[in-house]
């Protein structure tokens, strides 16, 4: 894991620069295992920065949430850069946004953190359900070490890691201005085991599975808002004319919403899993995203978020793309 001191020093230097507006990192949360985004406007603010295996958030989302109120008379646009701390998967989201020209490279500064895996908050909360005081975590070999109420707990990493982290192929940010520590070579391989199991099931089984999941959806759109790549000015569900997806909350509309959300991320999703983490109804959204990721890898040999110069998957083609199912 990253040296926090180095992180603070680099962030401090960055905030102090005239051309940087603020730097987004992580700080301790308000209780238990929570970590929360931290906006550093001054060098002093960076003192609060931390980095631990509890830093789940994909901070790239804040680039797209930056509000630009209309300029007043005589006011000049603030073109200062925004700095952000990113992990491997977050960096791919940034690349993807750059690729789509949603952001200008010169407007951002990226502090890259080679990541050794993040703890799934659901798993850790299930282990220590009544933890009020904030907890520090350290990584030692293949264990996470927690110091809770004076007692040390050693828990194997495998038990607590996010599923996505267990198969992460790009632990080191593919893009960064400042890289903290030594890059980690991705040694794992994404094998889409879960996806393949589900794929093999009979159509009816699959529908039974998904309809049960989608039925729970309350359409709060937390999945959309937590996603750094869902940044359309007007989302398709908010559109009134034509209203493709009705506002009624029922299986039909929920299914369409979930299909379309996943489809809109085809060839764009970096697999950070924020949608699933934000979902209060525990809908396994990564299972949808990963399926598309797997398909495009197989069909078009394309992996999202690796090269900012490349064209987006669905904005280009190869003359010999698959024709298998076309009549």
């Amino acid at each position: 894991m990253v040296n926090e001191k180095q992180l603070k020093t680099e962030a401090k230097k960055l905030v102090a620069r005239d051309d940087v507006k603020y730097v987004i990192g992580y700080e301790k949360g308000t209780y238990g295992f929570q970590v929360t985004p931290c906006f550093a406007f001054t060098p002093e603010d960076t003192e609060r920065f931390i980095f631990s295996p509890l830093c789940v958030h994909n901070l790239a989302v804040y680039f797209m949430l930056e509000e630009k109120p209309p300029l007043r008379k005589g006011e000049k646009e603030d073109t200062r850069k925004i700095g952000v701390v990113v992990k491997g998967c977050d960096a791919r989201a940034v690349v993807q946004i750059l690729q789509e020209k949603g952001l200008k490279r010169e407007n951002i500064v990226i502090i890259g953190v080679p990541c050794t895996g993040i703890i799934d908050p659901k798993k850790i909360n299930a282990k220590f359900p009544h933890q009020v005081k904030t907890v520090d975590v350290k990584e030692e070999g293949n264990n996470f070490v927690f110091n809770i109420n004076g007692k040390t707990h050693n828990i194997p990493k495998e038990e607590l890691l996010f599923e996505k982290c267990k198969q992460c192929e790009y632990p080191t940010p593919v893009i960064s201005d400042i890289l903290l520590g030594e890059p980690i070579k991705g040694s794992k391989k994404e094998e889409y085991k879960e996806i393949k199991t589900l794929e093999k099931k009979a159509l009816q089984e699959k529908w039974k599975f998904w309809s049960k999941e989608f039925e729970r959806c309350i359409r709060c759109y937390a999945c959309r808002n937590a996603c750094p790549l869902c940044y359309c000015k007007e989302c398709i569900v908010d559109q009134l004319s034509p209203q493709w997806i009705q506002r009624s909350v029922n299986l039909s509309e929920n299914t369409v919403w979930n299909i379309i959300r996943a489809y809109h991320l085809a060839g764009r999703c970096s697999g950070c899993g924020e949608c699933e983490r934000a979902c209060p109804m525990n809908i396994p959204l990564t299972k949808l995203n990963k399926k598309i990721e797997k398909d495009i890898k197989e069909l078009f040999e394309y992996i999202a978020g690796l090269n900012p110069e490349e064209k987006p998957l669905l904005a280009m083609f190869k003359p010999n793309d698959t024709e298998e199912t076309i009549l």
């Binding site: 949360g29 985004p37 949430l65 933890q131 937390a222 908010d238």
Partner: protein, 349 residues
């Protein structure tokens, strides 16, 4: 309606199923049911479906009164328009296993839906609904109902409250409605002894002690005034920086009542429906002209908090928060309402 001499009984645990079976024969019973590790209030046919090993249901039980999608009325589409009102829900319903905090939220929502204009959809359901609560023996990490002078074992807002005191339930009848319910199945209950009520007191004390997070509210008026003063403080902007505007907090809040009204049509018919909406979305207040009175996340986050802790007390003399902790549990970026309100004490205008 209040029965002065609140009657207390005990119900042996093994007789619970029998009691519920009796209730099911006269009421539509909604009870906590587990689905994918989450608890939902669903209609049950059999007591075995009930799962009482939970603290908070995923979606608050307000969904049973103020449905996420409610048809207001139907109409025929085209030149000759005719309106058909929806039939009112006159079935007798009963929520079994509602938590005292969620029950309190109904009392809070009543203010909105009664008001100058009576909301028939909510009120008919409310009128026909009995609440059988269950005390919270093991409050969760983010529970803070005690911050509002309430108790995890309070029977104030339910008709009947059960408290798990070991091998039996301690039953408190709160009002006439609850009395009738118990009366009709009197055989199963025995009057509570002093030992039983002491046991309940122990449970209450234990539950109180389990709640370790507190929102620092000395006095509602002081808080309202304080919030009035710091309305323009940069504090709100700092909190809102983190906010993703996802709206999970509002959908899962037992006292949030905002809704949207939309028309849905086919070629020949249509309906006007009411669906939950969230003040965390920019579209919520966007005028057709393009003007938005709450353009920034700061305005929206502040509005959500003020609505609960300032506007609502001003209008209805009660804070619109019951301390269930759902918004804290489900916020993806750890915006913690306990923290937000507690820290306002130090904020300078």
């Amino acid at each position: 309606m209040k029965v002065n001499n609140m009657e207390k009984f005990v119900l042996p645990k093994e007789k619970l199923s029998e009691w519920i079976n009796k209730i099911i024969s006269t009421y539509q019973v909604f009870a906590p049911v587990k689905e994918e590790e989450l608890i939902f209030f669903k209609q049950i046919k059999n007591p075995s479906e009930i799962d009482l090993e939970f603290v908070n249901s995923a979606v608050p039980p307000k969904v049973l009164l103020f449905q996420q999608t409610e048809t207001l009325f139907k109409f025929t589409n085209g030149k000759n328009i005719q309106i058909t009102p929806t039939t009112s829900h006159n079935e007798k319903t009963l929520i079994f296993g509602i938590r005292p905090c969620d029950a309190k939220s109904f009392s809070i929502l009543d203010h909105v839906f009664k008001g100058d204009y009576k909301d028939p959809y909510y009120l008919t359901k409310r009128k026909n609904m009995l609440l059988v609560g269950i005390s919270c023996n093991q409050p969760a990490v983010n529970c803070f109902c005690t911050s509002f002078d309430d108790s995890p074992t309070s029977s104030k807002h339910v008709d009947v409250l059960l408290t798990d005191i070991g091998d039996k339930y301690y039953v408190e009848v709160q009002n006439e409605k609850g009395k009738q319910l118990v009366e009709s199945t009197k055989k199963l209950f025995t009057p509570a002894t002093e030992k039983d009520s002491n046991k309940k007191k122990d449970v209450e004390k234990k539950a109180f002690d389990t709640i370790t997070r507190h929102m620092n509210i000395k006095n509602v008026d002081t808080l309202v005034k304080k919030l009035d003063i710091i309305f323009d403080a940069p504090y709100w902007k700092n909190i809102a920086m983190k906010c993703l505007g996802c709206g999970a907090c509002t959908y899962l809040c037992p006292t949030c009542h905002c809704f949207d009204i939309q028309d849905e049509t086919t070629l020949t018919k249509g309906a006007r429906i009411r669906i939950w909406d969230s003040c965390m979305r920019p579209e919520y207040t966007l005028h057709a002209s393009g003007h938005n009175p709450r353009p920034g996340r700061m305005n929206r986050v502040r509005n959500r908090i003020y609505h609960k802790y300032n506007y609502y007390p001003k209008n209805h003399q009660v804070i619109a928060c019951v301390g269930c902790g759902r918004c804290i549990d489900n916020c993806p970026v750890n915006i913690d309402i306990i923290d937000v309100i507690t820290k306002t004490a130090e904020v300078k205008p």
